[in-house]
C-alpha cells in the first residue's frame, strides 16, 4: 500500500554548489533526495489534531549536516536520523552565520535522541516556487563546518537532512527528520562555501 507521501508524490531534489572565494562555482551534486517516513509522521499529527496547535511547528525550518553517510542499513524511507550528525555549535562553526539550536530529536512516537544540534533555516531562505514547490537554500559559509574530526582523524561531510520543527507539539521542540540525502565526501575548508539548494515538490 502506498502511503500519503508516496501517493501524493512528494519528491525532493538537492543541488550542492561549491563557491570559491574567487567567485568560481562548481556543482558537486544535482540529484533527487529521499523523503523519509518522518514527513508522514509529522503530517499525521497535524491531520489527527493530536499535535501542535501552531502551523509553524509543522514547517521545515532546520537542517543537519553529517559525517557518516550513508547509513549502515542503506538509504531507505525509514531513516529517522543522520548517521553522524554534527554534534555542536562549534562543529557548525562558531564564526559562521549559522544559528545553531540544540534540541532533542524525535525519532518515532516514543523515542527521542537528546541534545542534537540543528542549524536553523532563516525564513528568507525558504522560497515558494509555483503552486506546490518550496526551495530551501542552506548556506554553509566559509567559516562553517571546517576542521571536522572524529577520533583524531579529519572527516568529510557526506550527508544532510531537513527537519520539521515540532509536529508533536512538545513543550521543548522535538524536530523530526523529513528529507535526507547522502553525497560524496567534501572536506570543508575556509577556502569555499557550500550552497545547498534543496527543493521539495509536494
Amino acid at each position: 500500500m502506498k502511503n500519503f507521501t508516496e501517493d501524493l508524490g512528494i519528491t525532493g531534489h538537492l543541488e550542492i554548489i561549491k563557491k570559491m572565494s574567487s567567485g568560481e562555482e562548481e556543482v558537486l551534486l544535482d540529484d533527487p533526495n529521499i523523503i523519509v517516513s518522518g514527513m508522514g509522521f509529522g503530517l499525521s499529527y497535524l491531520f489527527t489534531a493530536n499535535g501542535s496547535d501552531s502551523i509553524l511547528d509543522y514547517q521545515i525550518e532546520r537542517f543537519q549536516i553529517g559525517l557518516s553517510g550513508p547509513p549502515a542499513g542503506g538509504v531507505v524511507s525509514g531513516i529517522n536520523q543522520l548517521s553522524g550528525a554534527l554534534s555542536s555549535a562549534a562543529e557548525y562553526g562558531l564564526g559562521s552565520n549559522l544559528f545553531v539550536d540544540v534540541r532533542d530529536l524525535r525519532t518515532n512516537s516514543t523515542t527521542t535522541v537528546n541534545n542534537q544540534a540543528f542549524a536553523l533555516i532563516p525564513a528568507s531562505k525558504i522560497t515558494r516556487l509555483g503552486e506546490s514547490s518550496v526551495r530551501y537554500t542552506l548556506v554553509i559559509d566559509e567559516e562553517a563546518c571546517n576542521g571536522l574530526t572524529r577520533q583524531g582523524s579529519s572527516k568529510a561531510i557526506n550527508e544532510a537532512g531537513l527537519f520539521m520543527k515540532n509536529p508533536t507539539g512538545a513543550t521543548n521542540p522535538e524536530p523530526v527528520l523529513v528529507a535526507y540525502r547522502t553525497f560524496s565526501d567534501i572536506i570543508k575548508t575556509n577556502d569555499f562555501s557550500l550552497l545547498f539548494r534543496w527543493t521539495l515538490n509536494f
Binding site: 496547535d53 509553524l56 509543522y58 525558504i126 503552486e131
Partner: protein, 357 residues
C-alpha cells in the same frame, strides 16, 4: 493504495475503493511550509488565528454527480413541470413558499411513475484528474425562471447544493431577481437536501405536508415519497448552502464530518473521516442525479483572506467565510444512492481513511 473510501448502507458495506489525492493537497503543504513565522510576533488575534493548525486540515466533505445530471432529474423543468407547479394541485405549496419539494417527471424509460425503482439520470462523472479543483465542471442548471437563467444568479459550483430548506431559500433569494414567488421554484430546481426532522409544514394548512419527492407525468402526480427522518445535514446545520458539510468535534457522524484515529496513529499513520447521510438525504440526492463524486476539502487560507474574511473562519450555513480547496476526491461508477425501491432507503455512512505512513 491512495487512501480508501468505505460506504455503508445501514450495516451493509456497498463500496470500498481507493481515493485520489489532488494537486490541492500539494498546494496545501506548500502553503504550510511557507507561512511567515513573523506572523507569530503580531499580537492581533485575527493574525494569530492564521497560524491555527486546524485551518490546514480537512474541514469539509461534499457530494457531486455528473455534469449532465444538473440539467435533468429534479434540476430540470419543462412545460409540463411548469404546468404542474402552477396548477391547483400545487397551489398550497406555492402559497407556503416551500421550495423543498423535489418535483420531477418520471425518469423511468417506461414512464411508469408509480414504479418504486426510479433511476437517476445522466450521472456519470468526468474522468478522474488530480488537477481538478472542483468535483465536476459544467454544472450550471439550464432552466429559467421568470425568463432568467437560474445559473446567472446561482452558477453551478460542481456539486450538490443545499437551497431547499426554507430558511436558506428565503435568505439567499432575498435581494435577487428570484425573490418572491419565484424563489421556491428556483430552490426546488437547485436542490438538493430536505429539511431537518424538526421542520414540518402543517400550519396553517394543517395537512401534515412534509418534504417529499414527487414523480409525475402527463396524467397528474404519481409516486410521492415523504421524508421521515429528515436531513441530518439540515437538522444539525452542518451543510452550507454551497453543499459543504463541515466537521464536528464529536464522534457522532450525524452531526457532520468526524475525524478520528486510534492510539497507534503515530505508527500506523491512519486518519479516518466519517459522515452519515440520512435515508432522506439519500432519497433527495437521488432525485437530483445521485452521488457519483465525493470530495474532501481543506480551507484555502489565501482565498479566504482575499475574500476579506478574517480568521477564525467560523462555519456558517448561509454566508460561509470559509473558501475551500479540494484535497482528495473519489469518483464512482455507480450512483451511491441507487436503490431498487425508493421507499427502502437506509442511512448511508461514508468512512474515508488516509494513510500517512
Amino acid at each position: 493504495m491512495r487512501g480508501e473510501v468505505e460506504v455503508w448502507s445501514g450495516d451493509d458495506l456497498i463500496l470500498k475503493e481507493a481515493n485520489m489525492l489532488t494537486d490541492g493537497a500539494g498546494e496545501l503543504l506548500a502553503d504550510i511550509m511557507t507561512v511567515s513565522p513573523s506572523l507569530a510576533t503580531i499580537s492581533d488575534p485575527a493574525t494569530q488565528a492564521i497560524l491555527d493548525a486546524s485551518n490546514y486540515t480537512i474541514q469539509a466533505i461534499s457530494f457531486g454527480t455528473g455534469s449532465d445530471a444538473f440539467r435533468s432529474n429534479a434540476h430540470a423543468k419543462d412545460d409540463k413541470w411548469n404546468e404542474r407547479y402552477s396548477s391547483s394541485y400545487w397551489l398550497n405549496i406555492i402559497n407556503r413558499d416551500i421550495g423543498n419539494i423535489s418535483l420531477l417527471r418520471s425518469n423511468r424509460p417506461d414512464k411508469n411513475k408509480n414504479e418504486v425503482n426510479q433511476p437517476a439520470d445522466g450521472g456519470f462523472p468526468s474522468t478522474p484528474d488530480p488537477i481538478k479543483t472542483v468535483l465536476e465542471e459544467s454544472t450550471d442548471l439550464s432552466s429559467q425562471i421568470i425568463n432568467l437563467d437560474i445559473s446567472s444568479v446561482f452558477p453551478g459550483n460542481g456539486q450538490l447544493t443545499n437551497f431547499l430548506p426554507d430558511a436558506i431559500m428565503s435568505s439567499v433569494m432575498s435581494g435577487t431577481d428570484f425573490s418572491g414567488a419565484g424563489a421556491f421554484k428556483v430552490a426546488s430546481l437547485l436542490g438538493c437536501f430536505p429539511e431537518g426532522s424538526s421542520v414540518l409544514y402543517d400550519i396553517p394548512f394543517n395537512d401534515g405536508d412534509k418534504n417529499k419527492v414527487v414523480y409525475f407525468d402527463n396524467d397528474g402526480a404519481g409516486l410521492e415519497v415523504e421524508i421521515t427522518t429528515g436531513s441530518y445535514f439540515n437538522q444539525f446545520s452542518s451543510m452550507d448552502v454551497s453543499g459543504f458539510v463541515t466537521t464536528t468535534p464529536t464522534t457522532n457522524t450525524k452531526l457532520g464530518l468526524t475525524t478520528s484515529s486510534n492510539s497507534n496513529f503515530a505508527t500506523n499513520g491512519i486518519v479516518e473521516y466519517a459522515v452519515k447521510l440520512s435515508k432522506d438525504d439519500a432519497l433527495f440526492a437521488h432525485a437530483y442525479g445521485g452521488i457519483y463524486h465525493l470530495g474532501m476539502w481543506t480551507i484555502n487560507m489565501g482565498e479566504s483572506l482575499r475574500n476579506r474574511n478574517t480568521p477564525p473562519f467560523s462555519f456558517s450555513v448561509l454566508n460561509n467565510p470559509r473558501k475551500y480547496r479540494l484535497f482528495c476526491r473519489k469518483g464512482l461508477s455507480k450512483d451511491l444512492t441507487f436503490i431498487n425501491d425508493i421507499n427502502e432507503y437506509e442511512d448511508i455512512t461514508i468512512k474515508w481513511r488516509i494513510h500517512f505512513l
